[in-house]
């Protein structure tokens, strides 16, 4: 199982990387961690003429903490983000999701941005990016632009990134919660084996007014149930409106599982996915709620 023959460049500047992609005339492919692209190459499911290796772009190696957001550069490894105090403090949902990705050995190599951009419909990070309203920073021949998620995702493994464009970073909005509000998150996943692709995964982030026992902001999402990750506005509204939120967790989970229309495949029927979705949504809501009061994984 060997990839087709391809050319290779390792540019030292973003401009050179974009030029290399442009010269490849749609036959170029960016490689950073390569933990998704490598298998696709080896199985010859992709046959690029040129690999543009961005691992020498040192300016893309940083996790930058701003007042309102955290910016993660394109060659920051998943393992690096997993160990980052900034991620732990400012992006609790990302911190919760990272350990579910593959294994330590793949997280040592795979990147946060690469996973967001690869848009695998059962991957963890596109779901996190969706729940946090992340923004993808893109550089192309026409200059710089930004794409917001969910608009960035067009379907199964498809984004609006053009073949001659490079995603240089993902910005995750992370404004500090107002005083008295605790932000807490939870992630849960059902997979056939530890580290395998999710059959279904659920994410929840709650901003909780602990004194009033109310949810002031809610993010609820699922992956593995459609071609793109999904968020559930009606569920989020119900959580914000609930006088005693834990009492609506079960009904919110039920509503979410009614709303989805998953496909059946070899590993799980649509009905099973729906059932798992209900259980996992209920579980992440309970966990996030309890963590808000325990002061765990909040800022």
């Amino acid at each position: 199982m060997k990839p087709v023959d391809f050319g290779y460049v390792r540019p030292l500047t973003i401009a050179d990387a974009v030029t290399a992609l442009a010269c490849a005339q749609g036959e170029g492919k960016v490689i950073a961690g390569g933990q998704s692209l490598g298998p696709l190459l080896n199985m010859r499911l992709v046959r690029p003429a040129l690999l543009v290796d961005v691992n020498a772009l040192a300016e893309l190696a940083a996790i930058e903490e701003g007042e309102l957001e955290v910016r993660i550069g394109a060659i920051v490894r998943q393992r690096g983000a997993e160990r980052s105090a900034v991620v732990a403090g400012r992006l609790p949902l990302l911190a919760e999701a990272l350990p579910y990705i593959g294994h330590v050995q793949t997280r040592n190599r795979g990147t946060v941005v690469g996973s967001v951009v690869h848009a695998d419909p059962s991957a963890e990070l596109p779901l996190v990016a969706l729940c946090l309203d992340a923004i993808v920073e893109i550089v192309g021949p026409a200059g710089n632009r930004e794409a917001s998620i969910p608009d960035f995702y067009e379907g199964y493994l498809s984004t609006d990134l053009a073949p001659d464009e490079l995603a240089v970073a993902v910005r995750f909005p992370a404004p500090a919660p107002p005083s008295g509000i605790v932000r807490a998150a939870a992630f849960a996943e059902m997979a056939r084996r530890e580290g395998d692709f999710a059959i279904v995964a659920a994410a929840a982030q709650l901003d909780v007014d602990v004194a009033a026992r109310r949810v002031v902001d809610a993010r609820v999402g699922l992956t593995g149930v459609a071609g793109v990750p999904l968020r559930f506005a009606a569920a989020e509204t119900a959580l914000r409106n609930a006088a005693e939120p834990p009492r609506v967790f079960a009904s919110v989970a039920e509503t979410v599982s009614d709303e989805i229309d998953p496909d059946s495949d070899l590993h799980a029927t649509a009905a099973y996915r729906r059932s798992v979705a209900r259980v996992l949504v209920s579980r992440v809501l309970e966990r996030a709620w309890l963590r808000a009061f325990a002061g765990e994984n909040g800022p």
Binding site: M1, K2, V4, Y8, G34, Q35, R79
Partner: protein, 159 residues
């Protein structure tokens, strides 16, 4: 396509070779350098048999291309023992606990477990299973492998 000149340090020795960019790191180690201790299993990043250390951290050498390792330092199973002739406490523990049968997964297990013990000298059974979760073994049922890592933690870790 054109070959690419690379310089890689493997187990402390610098090698300079010209290779096609599509050559995986594991094929480079085995076929170009004749370091056949690293095994190649699934060739798509699932089984963990090809795990080596790249600049000190364990990675899958079947889904890293050799050209990407240009300038990097690699440790394979042949490089675990400092003198190349004795076994490390971890390797001894694998023998002692019968942590292998056919031995196909063992080089990857040893690299992954060595990395774990460097970071956590006294890991719990759960931590060992989590760290080695990406290394598939079809013989042992994993129990003896976990016991071997625990024994190594008691007898001297990676040194």
């Amino acid at each position: 396509m054109n070959d690419y000149a690379i310089s890689v340090i493997v187990n402390g020795v610098t090698y300079e070779r010209r290779i096609p960019p599509r050559r995986s790191l594991v094929d480079f180690l085995r076929d170009d350098l004749a370091l056949t201790g690293t095994h190649v299993g699934c060739e798509h990043g699932i089984c963990g048999a090809c795990t080596v250390m790249l600049d000190g951290v364990p990675i899958r050498s079947c889904i890293v291309y050799a050209v990407q390792a240009d300038g990097a330092s690699i440790t394979t199973v042949e490089g675990l023992s400092p003198d190349g002739s004795t076994l490390t406490p971890l390797q001894d523990a694998f023998v002692e606990c019968h942590g292998l049968q056919c031995g196909f997964c063992t080089p990857g297990m040893l690299i992954a477990a060595t990395a774990l013990l460097r970071e956590k000298p006294d890991p719990s059974a759960d931590e060992i299973r989590d760290e080695l979760g990406g290394n598939i073994c079809r013989c042992t049922g994993y129990q003896q492998i976990v016991e071997a890592v625990q024994l190594a933690a008691r007898t001297g870790g990676t040194r």
